[in-house]
Amino acid sequence: MPRLNAATRHRVAFTLNGRPVSLEAEPRLLATDALRHGLGATGTHVGCEHGVCGACTIQIDGQPARACLTLAVQLEGAAVTTVEGLAPERDRLSVMQAAFRRNHALQCGFCTAGILVSLDAYLREQPAPSEQDLREVVGGHLCRCTGYTPIIRAALEAAACLRGEPLSQPSDREPAHV
C-alpha cells in the first residue's frame, strides 16, 4: 500500500486543463499551493483556506472541489480543470466568461475564477437551470463586490446561449430571504 512519508516530497502526476503535469509534493501540501506556486496556475485564488469562500474551486474529474480542502497528493491521476482551462483559445473568452464581462458580473475579480468553474460544472449537469438553481450554486461562493445579481444574470444568459436560445429576460425573481 503506498505510504507517503511526511518529511519527503513525492511525485504527483495528473492532467491540468488537458495537459499532463507533475510536481513534487509533501503529503501536507494543499492543492491550492501546488497549482499556484508549484505549477504557476495562479488563476485559482485562495480566500479562506477553510472551504467556505469558494474562490479556490476547481474541477476534479469534472466535479467541483475546493482546492483548499484538497491535498496535492489527492490529485494523483485526476483530470483537473481550473479557470485557465475554460476558454476555448488563449485569446478568446468562453460563452460564460463573455457573459460575465457583458453583465459586469465581476469587479475585483478575485472570487470570479471559482464561480466560473462551479458554473461550468453545473451547466453540464443542468443545462436549463432556473434562477433559483443558479442562486444556490453561486450560493457556494462569496463575492464581496457585485451583490450577486449581475452574476446570476450572466449565468442565465450564458446558459441560454449555450442552449442555442436567443437572449431572454430572466424569469420571475424569487425574493431572497435573509
Binding site: 495562479t42 479562506c48 477553510h50 443558479l134 442562486r135 462569496l142 464581496r144 431572497a176 430571504h177 435573509v178
Partner: protein
C-alpha cells in the same frame, strides 16, 4: 468646467480589466513572482485579550528545519519607533506587542522560514509566558473608574473628549415642542475583501532603505507614518502596489502595520520576506469598523420640523488608536445633519480604547454609525408625534434651491435636489405598490413593514477633517491640514500612443476602463487606443498625501485629474498642430484619431504624428510649447479648507444624495426577514460609467445587508474573539441577496472637473437603517440594534414562553447563557462511585491519583497542597492539543465538598473554569459525586471552533469524572461507564 465632446464617458463599456481576470491571468500580489531566496513569514498572535508578556522563548523555533529568523516585539522595538496616531495621547502604537498584549490576535512574534508551512511549524515551537490581566471590551464599561486601563501612561481609556456647538442648540431645545431621543449601540463589522493582505519586503543595509510591495490602497498619509516608524526618510521607503487587488472596501489600509513588520523581518532575516495573511488572521486582527454608542436627541416642532440635534458619540477604537483613527468619528463631521436643514447642533465626541482589535477604514467609514442613529430618530419622531414618516423626512429636507448649501457644522453641499429625488423615488406607483403589499399582508395577519432612509453620501474627504479632533489651539501648533491632492499623468510615446497613470490603485473599481474613456474623449480617440497603468511605485510615480483609493474619490477627483492632465496636453498638441496647419490653436479639433482645422476637412494630421513630434523633432515645437510628451496634473479643490477657529469643517468635497425605501416581511416564528421590495434613489452627480455605478450600488447594498442581518465581529466579555472564520462571520450569499430597483437623478457637482461625485459607500450608510426602520415598522418596536439576527427579532415579538410542563418540573434545566455570544460553558452532572467519600476525597489531593484522572495527562507537579501543575493532551475527535494546565483546590470542606478551578494554555488557545464538587455518601460504601462547572475558552479555539466547544468541554469533564470513578472503584468499571453514558 465641462468637456466639449463626449462619446465614451457615460457609456457602460465592457471593462478592459475583465478578460485577464476571467481567464485567470490577474496579477494579484500572491500571483506575482518573488526573487529567488525569498523567505516566508508567519505570525504568532496573542490568545489573550490583555496580558503582560513575561517571556518569549524562541530557542526551539529558531533551530527548526527551514527557519531563518524569529522576530519578537523587542527586536521590533530596537529597529523602529511606535506608529503615530491622529491623537495627542500617550499611547505607544507598536505594530507588534512589546511588553503587553491588548487584544486577541495581536502579533507577538514572527517566524521567517523557507516556506509558509515551515514558518507555521516554527510558530508551534515558540513558548510565550503571559500573565493575564483583567480586560474590558465594552466601551461604556471602559469609561468606568475601576475599568482595567490598557495603556498605563495614558492614564485611562478615554483618549479624546471634545464638545462642539454650532448655532444655539440649547435655546432650540429649550423652546422645542417635543424632544425625541434614540440610543444606539452600533456593532463592529468589516469589509472582508476576498483577498487578504499581502506584503513582500526587502531591506538594503547599505542604503538603509526598505522596498515594500503590498496590496495597500494608499500611499496617502500613511506613507509618512510608515517611514517615520521605520526610522527612514520617505525616499528610503519605496512602497509599491500590484496592478490588481482583490477588494478592499477601506480595509486594505490596514496592511500598513504589516509593511513595517515584514520590512523589519526582512531586515533581520537578511533576505526578502513574503507574508500572505490568512483568513483567520484577517477576521481577527485586520481592520474593524468602529463600534459606537450614540445617544441622539432632537428638538422638534409640533409639525415635525427639527430645530436642533444633540449628538453624544462614544467611539470604540479598540486597543490602539491606529492612524488615521479617530478618523471614523470625524469623517462625517460636516454632515452630522444629514440631508436635513437643521441650524443648531451640539456634539460630544469621545474616543475610548478597549481590548479589541484596532479599527480603521471600512466602506461607509462613519456613515453607517451616524445614519443609523439619525434615520432611526426620524422614524421615532414620526412615531412619537403621530406623523407620517415621509412627511417628517420631506419637511426637513434641504430645499432644492439652497445649493451650494452650508451646513451648521461647516460642510458645503455641492449640489442636489433632495426633494425632487425623494418625490421621484416614491412616484410611478412605487410607494403605492409597497403600501398595497403591506396592507394586504397585514390584512392576512402577517408582519409587513416599510422603512425609509435619506442620506447624504460624502466623498473626496478633506485631509484636514481629522484635525477637528484637536482643539483650535492644538491645530494651530501642528499647522493647518487641508485639501485632497489628486494626480494623474498622461504620456505620449515616440509613436504617438497615449499612456495614462494615476496614483490610485483600484480594488475592482474599473479605473483602467473609466480613465481610458475620459482620456479618449479629450483626444478624440478610440477608447481602446488608450492604455492605462494603475500599479503604483512611490519611488518613481507622482503621488501626494491624499493619493490612494478611498473616500470614493476616484470618479470625482482622480478621473478629474486625468481629464485635467489630458486637457493640458491636448492644448499643447493643438498649438503644435496649429503651427503645422497654419491656423490658430482655437481652430484645432480632435476627433476620430485625427487632429484637424475646424471647418477645413482637408487640413488634417494623424493624431500620432502630432503626438510624436516632441520626441522626433522638438525643433519644430512652436513658441510657448516646451514639450508635449508627458503632463502630470495635480488637482485639489479650493473648497476643502482647514477647520476654522469655531471648528467648522468642510469634511468632504462632494455630497451625493440617497433615498431608500424598503418593504419587508418578518416571520415572527423564525425571526427571519424577507425583503419584498427595495428601491434606492441616487444622485451621484454625473455618471461616468452606468454599469460600474450600478455595480457600486449593488455591492454596497449587499455589504449593508450583511451588516444588517449577519455580520458582527463579536467578542465575549472576557475578550475572547468569537467570529474568526467564515462559518461564524457570515457574509450574505446569492441566496440571501435580493435584486433591487436603482433610480438616478443627476445634479453634476460644480466642484469636480467632470461633475462626478463618489458613489461607492452610500448604500452602506443608507441600507442598514432603511431595513431596520422597515423591521421596526413591521414589529411596532422602538429599539433595534444590529445585526438583526433571528434570535433578536424573535425575542422582540415573542409571547411569553410556554412553561416547562408540570411533569418536567423536577428535571433540572441547564442554565442558559446571559446573552448571545456569551460562550461560558455551564453544566452539571453526577456520578455514583463504589468507594466511600474519604477515599474519593484523598484522590483529589493526591498527585499520582490526579495524574491518572486528568484526561491526557503527561505528568503532574505538586506546587502546594492544593495547587498542581500538569502537562495534558486534551480534545475531542481529531481536535487535540497539548496544554499546560494549572489546577487549584479551594473552599475545602473535607470530605464533603471542594471547588476545583483550573486553567490551560497551549497552541490552540486558553481555557479556564471552575467547578464545585460535592461528595455524599450513597448506599453502602458508595459516594455520589455531584458537580457543576463553568468554563470559558479563549484564543484560537474560541475564534474558530465555537461549535466544538460545548461538546468538547462536556466530553473532557466527563472524562475526568469517569476516570475518577474508575480509579475510586476499579472493580466495577462497567457500572461507572454505564452511568456516565459513554467511554472516554
Amino acid at each position: 468646467m465641462k468637456i466639449e465632446t463626449i462619446s465614451w464617458t457615460g457609456q457602460s463599456l465592457e471593462r478592459v480589466e475583465d478578460a485577464a481576470l476571467l481567464t485567470g491571468r490577474g496579477r494579484f500580489i500572491d500571483d506575482l513572482g518573488v526573487r529567488p531566496g525569498t523567505l516566508h513569514a508567519a505570525i504568532l498572535r496573542s490568545p489573550h485579550a490583555h496580558a503582560d508578556i513575561l517571556s518569549v522563548d524562541v530557542a526551539a523555533a529558531a533551530v527548526m528545519p527551514g527557519v531563518a529568523a524569529v522576530i519578537t516585539g523587542r527586536d521590533l522595538a530596537r529597529l523602529t519607533t511606535p506608529m503615530v496616531a491622529g491623537l495627542k495621547v500617550a499611547v505607544e502604537n507598536w505594530p507588534m506587542a512589546v511588553e503587553r498584549v491588548r487584544y486577541v490576535g495581536e502579533p507577538v512574534a514572527i517566524v521567517v522560514a523557507a516556506d509558509r508551512y515551515l514558518a507555521e511549524d516554527g510558530l508551534d515551537a515558540i513558548e510565550v509566558e503571559y500573565r493575564p490581566l483583567p480586560c474590558v471590551v465594552d466601551p461604556l464599561a471602559s469609561l468606568e473608574p475601576d475599568a482595567p486601563v490598557l495603556h498605563d501612561r495614558a492614564g485611562g481609556n478615554l483618549v479624546s473628549d471634545r464638545r462642539f456647538r454650532y448655532g444655539d442648540p440649547k435655546a432650540a431645545f429649550a423652546k422645542a415642542a417635543h424632544r425625541v431621543e434614540v440610543t444606539i449601540a452600533y456593532p463592529r463589522n468589516t469589509g472582508a475583501p476576498m483577498e487578504t493582505f499581502g506584503v513582500v519586503a526587502e531591506y538594503d543595509p547599505h542604503e538603509d532603505a526598505y522596498d515594500v510591495l503590498a496590496n495597500f490602497q494608499g500611499p496617502f498619509s500613511i506613507h509618512a507614518v510608515l517611514a517615520r516608524c521605520l526610522k527612514v526618510p520617505g525616499n528610503r521607503l519605496r512602497l509599491r502596489m500590484p496592478p490588481e487587488s482583490g477588494g478592499s472596501f477601506g480595509v486594505k489600509q490596514g496592511v500598513a502595520p504589516y509593511a513595517v513588520l515584514i520590512g523589519v523581518a526582512a531586515r533581520i532575516a537578511g533576505a526578502p520576506v513574503k507574508w500572505i495573511e490568512d483568513r483567520l488572521e484577517h477576521l481577527g486582527a485586520a481592520v474593524a469598523a468602529t463600534n459606537r454608542v450614540t445617544t441622539l436627541k432632537a428638538a422638534v416642532t409640533a409639525e415635525g420640523r427639527i430645530t436642533a440635534l444633540d449628538w453624544d458619540q462614544l467611539e470604540d477604537c479598540g486597543a490602539y488608536p491606529r492612524a488615521p483613527e479617530p478618523a471614523t468619528l470625524y469623517r462625517m463631521h460636516g454632515n452630522m445633519t444629514g440631508a436635513y436643514d437643521i441650524a443648531n447642533i451640539a456634539i460630544r465626541n469621545r474616543v475610548v480604547l478597549t481590548n479589541k482589535a484596532p479599527t480603521g477604514l471600512v466602506r461607509g467609514f462613519g456613515g453607517p454609525q451616524v445614519y443609523y442613529a439619525l434615520e432611526r430618530l426620524m422614524q421615532r419622531i414620526a412615531a412619537e408625534l403621530g406623523l407620517d414618516p415621509l412627511a417628517v423626512i420631506r419637511t426637513n429636507l434641504i430645499p432644492g434651491g439652497a445649493f451650494p448649501y452650508r451646513t451648521a457644522s461647516g460642510a458645503l453641499y455641492d449640489s442636489g435636489d433632495y426633494v425632487k429625488a425623494f418625490d421621484l423615488a416614491l412616484a410611478e406607483g412605487r410607494l403605492a405598490d409597497v403600501q398595497a403589499r403591506r396592507d394586504a399582508a397585514r390584512a392576512a395577519g402577517r408582519r409587513y413593514g416599510i422603512g425609509f432612509a435619506a442620506v447624504v453620501e460624502p466623498s473626496v474627504s478633506n485631509m484636514g477633517y481629522i484635525t477637528t479632533v484637536l482643539t483650535a489651539a492644538e491645530r494651530q501648533k501642528a499647522g493647518p491640514k487641508n485639501g485632497a491632492q489628486a494626480t494623474a499623468t498622461i504620456a505620449l510615446d515616440p509613436v504617438g500612443s497615449v499612456g495614462v497613470h494615476v496614483a490610485s490603485v483600484p480594488q475592482g473599481q474599473g479605473h483602467r476602463t473609466v480613465l481610458a474613456q475620459v482620456v479618449a474623449d479629450v483626444f478624440g480617440m478610440p477608447c481602446e487606443a488608450i492604455r492605462v497603468v494603475v500599479d503604483l511605485d512611490t519611488g518613481k510615480d507622482a503621488w501626494s498625501i491624499a493619493s490612494g483609493n478611498y473616500s470614493s474619490r476616484f470618479a470625482a477627483a482622480v478621473a478629474g485629474a486625468a481629464h485635467l492632465a489630458a486637457t493640458r496636453l491636448r492644448d499643447k498638441l493643438a498649438m503644435i498642430a496649429a503651427a503645422q496647419l497654419g491656423v490658430a490653436p482655437a481652430q484645432i479639433g480632435f476627433a476620430g484619431g485625427a487632429v484637424f482645422a475646424k471647418g477645413n476637412p482637408a487640413s488634417t494630421l494623424p493624431f500620432a504624428r502630432v503626438a510624436a513630434l516632441s520626441h522626433w523633432s522638438p525643433a519644430l515645437l512652436p513658441a510657448g510649447v516646451d514639450q508635449a510628451i508627458r503632463e502630470t496634473a495635480f488637482w485639489t479643490p479650493p473648497e476643502l479648507s482647514a477647520p476654522d477657529e469655531e471648528d467648522h469643517v468642510n469634511s468632504s468635497l462632494c455630497h451625493g444624495f440617497i433615498f431608500d425605501m424598503a418593504g419587508v416581511e418578518v416571520d415572527a416564528e423564525t425571526g427571519k426577514v424577507r425583503i419584498d421590495r427595495y428601491v434606492t434613489m441616487h444622485d451621484c452627480g454625473r455618471v461616468l460609467h452606468p454599469g460600474m455605478v450600478e455595480g457600486q450600488i449593488r455591492g454596497g447594498f449587499a455589504q449593508a445587508l450583511g451588516a444588517t442581518f449577519y455580520e458582527e465581529l463579536a467578542y465575549a466579555d472576557d475578550g475572547a474573539f468569537l467570529t474568526g472564520t467564515f462559518a461564524d462571520y457570515l457574509l450574505p450569499t446569492a441566496t440571501e441577496t435580493p435584486d433591487i430597483e436603482i433610480l438616478h437623478i443627476e445634479t453634476p457637482s460644480p466642484f469636480t472637473p467632470l461633475g462626478a461625485k463618489g458613489v461607492g459607500e452610500g448604500n452602506c450608510m443608507s441600507t442598514p437603517v432603511c431595513l431596520a426602520n422597515a423591521v421596526a415598522d413591521a414589529l411596532g418596536v422602538a429599539q433595534l440594534d444590529l445585526p438583526l439576527t433571528p434570535a433578536r427579532i424573535a425575542a422582540l415579538v415573542a409571547a411569553p414562553e410556554p412553561a416547562l410542563p408540570e411533569s418536567h418540573r423536577e428535571r433540572a434545566v441547564g442554565p442558559g447563557a446571559a446573552k448571545p455570544g456569551d460562550r461560558t460553558l455551564r453544566g452539571q452532572g453526577q456520578a455514583r462511585v463504589a468507594a466511600p467519600p474519604d477515599v474519593v476525597w484523598a484522590m483529589l489531593l493526591d498527585v499520582d491519583a490526579l495524574a491518572s484522572i486528568i484526561p491526557g495527562c503527561h505528568g503532574v507537579e505538586k506546587l502546594s497542597e492544593t495547587h498542581f501543575k500538569a502537562d495534558v493532551t486534551i480534545g475531542v475527535g481529531p481536535v487535540k492539543g497539548r496544554y499546560k494546565a494549572q489546577i487549584m483546590l479551594s473552599d475545602l470542606d473535607a470530605p464533603r465538598a471542594a471547588t476545583l478551578s483550573g486553567s490551560v494554555s497551549g497552541a490552540l488557545g486558553t481555557g479556564g473554569g471552575s467547578g464545585r464538587v460535592t461528595l455524599t455518601t450513597a448506599g453502602e460504601g458508595g459516594t455520589l459525586i455531584a458537580y457543576t462547572y463553568e468554563a470559558a475558552v479563549g484564543g484560537k479555539v474560541a475564534a474558530i471552533g465555537g461549535r466544538l466547544l460545548d461538546g468538547a468541554a462536556k466530553a473532557i469533564i466527563g472524562q475526568f469524572f469517569a476516570a475518577l470513578s474508575r480509579r475510586a472503584a476499579p472493580a466495577r468499571p462497567g457500572f461507572i461507564a454505564r452511568l456516565l453514558g459513554r467511554r472516554p
